[in-house]
Amino acid sequence: MSEIQDLSTFVRHPAEGVAAMDLVVEGVHCGACISTIEKGLSRDAAVRSARVNLASKRLTVEWTEGELRPSEILDRLSGLGYPAYPFAVETADSVELREEKRLLRCLAVAAFGAMNIMLLSVSLWAGAATGPSGATRDFFHWLSAVVALPTVAFAGRPFFDSAAKALKARTFNMDVPISLGVLLAIGLSVVQTLQHATEAYFDSAVMLLLFLLAGRYLDQRMRRRTRDVATNLAAMRAERAVKLFEGGEAREVPIAAIAPDDLVLVRAGERVAVDGVVEDGRSDVDQSLVTGETSPAPVATGAQVYAGSLNLTGALRVRVAKAATGTLLDEVNALLEKAVVQRSSYVRIADRAARLYAPVVHVTALATFLGWMLMGLGWEHALVIAITVLIITCPCALGLAVPAVQVVAAGAMFRHGVMLNSGDALERLAGVSDIVFDKTGTLTLPTLSVANLADIAPQDLSLAGSLALASKHPLARAVAAAAGATAPLPAHEFPGQGVTIFIEGVRLRLGSIAFCKAEAEAAPVAAKWPDASLMAFRAPERVVVFAIRQAARPDAREIVGELLNAGYRIEALSGDRPAAVEAAARELGIETFSGGVKPGDKIARLNALRSGGRKTLMVGDGLNDAPALAAAYVSMSPITAAHLTQTQADAVFLGDRLAPVAEALSLARKAKRLMVENLWLSAIYNLFAVPIAILGYASPLVAALAMSGSSVIVTVNALRARQARGF
């Protein structure tokens, strides 16, 4: 690209006269990279600081305002061998980061409190306070209180806040019994201390917080790292557009800098980066990422074009739309709103357990209190026993049971190229019974390739490939890629038709069927490859016809077979022509399919499946799939999907292969099994611990041992979620 890049939208101004920019850098992986980049940039006097973050593969550069253009920094970095991509820090990112730091602070405070209180408690249990007066014991209890009260006030906030929110909404979550247990334990201990009692539960309360905070912090960190990777990937494939300024100047700008009513130039072979109306120009566009339809549609002045379509033949000047009305995008947005409202409110397994668990615990505690009263025990003593029941049942293991599995499973998915967008996606993925695939870009790769390579003679292919290099047309690029051609021929291009060259006394042509007058030869190829676009190559005495289409993902057939064997029902729903959908579905062994499906019809189909009691995983990438993804029980999309679509998906998978979908399903099933197992483990723990507490034998030592024991068991069990595969 010869245009100067305008990156001003990414520049921050942290201080007067200072400009800064955040960049994602490709290929940094060691200390040498850090010093190459930092020293390389710092040689410039205008650069005030350059700091690489190796963990997140990001770079922050600060320079003196006005002395350096942002694009020069990118040039210098790529000169150093590190292509970099600017990105804007989203507010959601910094909120997540703040929450993570807050949890880490709470965790540190709780760890300090737990260690020191435990130090005091262990000395008491070991017999430090055997003196007749109990003065040492009281002193230790007071010290524990001095440490525990501020610790709980600070480190317990995440739980108290969440519990208050849940109660305000008149629901229960796990944080309600947790908060109640901690507060009661602390309150009881203070009263016990005041009354010179022999036992206090400061250690239990603080240790409980420590365990739970550890689980929550890990959970948050996993989510944040997933987000970071997603942001980096988004920055690397950030779309740019050529903006036409008044006076005819053309400049390449990031999409974030484009406003409604701007004029944008889209050349042949480029993706349209904006939604808008064609101001002038004539071309064919491939809207497969938008509608799923793979055969190109002609556009001319006044036609609507959408972001994500591929401009095939001619240059277009597009006026950016303010807000689309009465268009496909409008329809997609309306459907999306409805689908999001309709989305069945899934209740997380942990919350379901809490709803079941909290009343049982509270009733048990009350019954214990009344029971001891009836047995003739004083109300104070009965109350103490009732509160110890609450403390010992406080769902320490229960609170860890689900998050610990989630963290381990999300980590395992990450390694298999699946990134979860939502926390409960795991549980929903585990319940899936049906899978609905979109065809274009999901079952098939988003890039074009030559389908009938086997029918083409190698010398024709290499000649056609060299000729194809002269054209920017996507079909020609696919031919060039298939031939592995690197040396272009100095051919002449007729835009929208083809390229031709006169070489060694013969004329060679590569282009549309009409351009090469190859109608007769094209007919059998078209019949054999109904979903392909055709391109012809004519040397004087022979004609070759290329069938070019989006090939199926390399392992699609195998994975579909594996999923069918595992008992999933599989369907293909696509906006593409029925013939093309049928060909692709047959090739992959999918028996239920329909083509020409509109976005609304996709939702209707999903709703029909739902009312039949089926739980559907929707996998799609197009803009037209976005409402269906939102309406499905759970959804996934490839990383190449349209932006709007990706934000609606519960999980995003990377790479050319379809295997991550199968991995995700198998990991999710395993994770769900472990979650249920963990919940049972903590239920069994309670089965033993609660009778001890009800009978009044739950000393602080017993409580400490029982709690840490059950937490460790649950966490170790969760680690098994690492290995996948095998349904």
């Binding site: 020293k39 710092s42 973050n53 540190a108 260690m115």
Partner: protein
């Protein structure tokens, strides 16, 4: 026994000092890039360089 009255709170105070140091380090961004810090420790920043370094954050 009376020695406990001094020593135990002293131990607590030392622990609190450690906590304060950790919270300071956290706030100061010392934990933002754990991978990078490992490499920076062995970089030869302190050796004379052919080009003068112009910045230190």
């Amino acid at each position: 026994m009376n020695v406990l009255v001094f020593l135990v709170p002293l131990a607590l105070a030392l622990g609190a000092l450690g906590l304060a140091a950790f919270l300071w380090a956290l706030r100061n961004g010392q934990f933002d890039d754990l991978d990078g810090a490992a490499w920076r420790a062995i970089s030869d920043d302190d050796l004379p360089d052919d080009a003068p370094r112009q910045n230190h954050v």
